[in-house]
Subunit: 354 residues, 2 copies
Amino acid sequence: MARIPVPEVLRFCVDCMTLVGTSKPHAVALAEVLVEADHRGHYSHGINRLEMYVRDVQSKTTDGSAVAKVLQESAATAWVDGNNALGPVVGNFCMDVAVKKAKDSGVGWVVAKGTNHYGIAGWYAMQALKHNMLGMSFTNTSPLLSPTRSKKAALGTNPISLAAPAKDGDSFVLDMATSAVALGKIEVQRRKKESIPVGWAQGPDGRSTTDADLAFKTSALMPLGGEERTSGYKGYGLALLVETFCGILAGSDFGPNIRRWMDATKPANLGQCFVAINPGSFAPGFEQRMSDMNNILRKLDHAEPDKPVLVPGDPERNNIAKVKKEGGILYHESQIKASAELAAKLKVNPMKAL
Amino acid sequence: MARIPVPEVLRFCVDCMTLVGTSKPHAVALAEVLVEADHRGHYSHGINRLEMYVRDVQSKTTDGSAVAKVLQESAATAWVDGNNALGPVVGNFCMDVAVKKAKDSGVGWVVAKGTNHYGIAGWYAMQALKHNMLGMSFTNTSPLLSPTRSKKAALGTNPISLAAPAKDGDSFVLDMATSAVALGKIEVQRRKKESIPVGWAQGPDGRSTTDADLAFKTSALMPLGGEERTSGYKGYGLALLVETFCGILAGSDFGPNIRRWMDATKPANLGQCFVAINPGSFAPGFEQRMSDMNNILRKLDHAEPDKPVLVPGDPERNNIAKVKKEGGILYHESQIKASAELAAKLKVNPMKAL
């Protein structure tokens, strides 16, 4: 394990991305999203994916210098072509447009085609908090989720994120895949040689399996809710809701037509959706009510003494406080090793631990 | 069992509601939503609830003649006071406003306070289909859902509905509670003296129970996803997302402050949210892509021979076709009996079976 200060992780990401030809501001945009994922404790979406972005720019599968462009707009909407730019470049652009629309029209709804992996969905939703607005973000992803009753995956893990401001910097931040779990969670159980719960993933027969190895090889995650009798069809419906707001509205690739995960032979052409909602258009006192709701939830009597009820966003808030107290993000030895290898390959300075 | 033609069920609902002082168009608005629920096969939200609406108007807990009013608006939004009118009266009003806003501005986002139970959320979302638009609808409800780790309910079963048009009358219609299941499903298991799956509901200790009787008495449904290890916190987050769009944005009652289910001693003061999205503001060809997506899903290889993959909305479509073929909605004997008793009490003509 090694602890690395946030600015040093940022520096490393920017160095790697610019070295392969990414323009500096675009490299910074990507670095900020990846490092924020680790900062919040979501290592699955952080610098462990840096090499994928490096490879995509290096192979010109993603255009490290391209910028997004509005194709069509109305008072509250915009349709954007991401022009195959880096996901965070497109995402930040779209969220800015959404916030501007919401300032004038109450809501901004922006949909992009031709975009790429954008890191954590919550990053974009949270941009709205700076403007005292609610933000939402959705993206389609490579097929990994099996619709209820299907034998194989046909939709992505299609995340939904909502960020809503409360008083004094408090907030409610939901950022969830619509699959029961991420593939990474199955990988962890597999390495530990432990089983997985019913409802996480299917075997090749299309039925729920508890065998982590089989689940990982099959790569057909079950939707949130798991099996049909525990309402997995609702999670499947939510994954399709996300696809509708992304690929279907945007006119990008969608469903099983999206390139396979980690395939770098053709552009991803993902669809993404960004929404900003101005609470000033509705009842006065939004932030006070959001705080009241949060605090009611946090004070609920809980079943286990050491497990208080949390508001979505609280675990991440706790992780950020921990990083601040300790002076850096704690990385596993295997991540440090992988980053050092990437540094050596690209001939950039490796990350310096505390 | 008895089969009753749709117009006769409508007639009966309108007679009951007008007899207790509901204005005729408002009685029709409610009747249409309740009968549509039965028509679609969702008997839990149909005429089995008629007596509740009758009692609410009779006791003046709901105002059977009131109409909704826009309090504040912008190009894409409206904040509405439901004035304690019947839920469907408020809901239809709000959805009309949302569609009008979406015609001009691309999106319409309308939030109402002071409203009442509005039947199936899908009714309102589906209004947008008539205008070739996407519709969404959300409502908060009486506390029945236990946030992850909590020992008791603090949020409602808070439904999410999205309707999206496809080609030739096809569509994708999601209409789901954010709890794992409805309380009614537990009641059914209880009557059959059968157990319930892990992840449906909690016992008084705050842990998942398989005892249907205990689950029914505790009335603390688990969120979609069930226990924490199967990601129940995502369903909890979605229930809070709905509450944020409803009570928190609208300035109505919210969370555990909403009156208890079936309590008729004070107005419900619910919050509801209605959204219309004009696909013409984004990539051309929305309906074709939606149809393509639907048909890809329907043709997926399935695990069990007699269980094809369905698109959300397909089970309801099948039920509507069945009602049409058979000439009426099939009701259980107990429902016929309850409706006959209500008819006798109010001195209106009972429903005539085929």
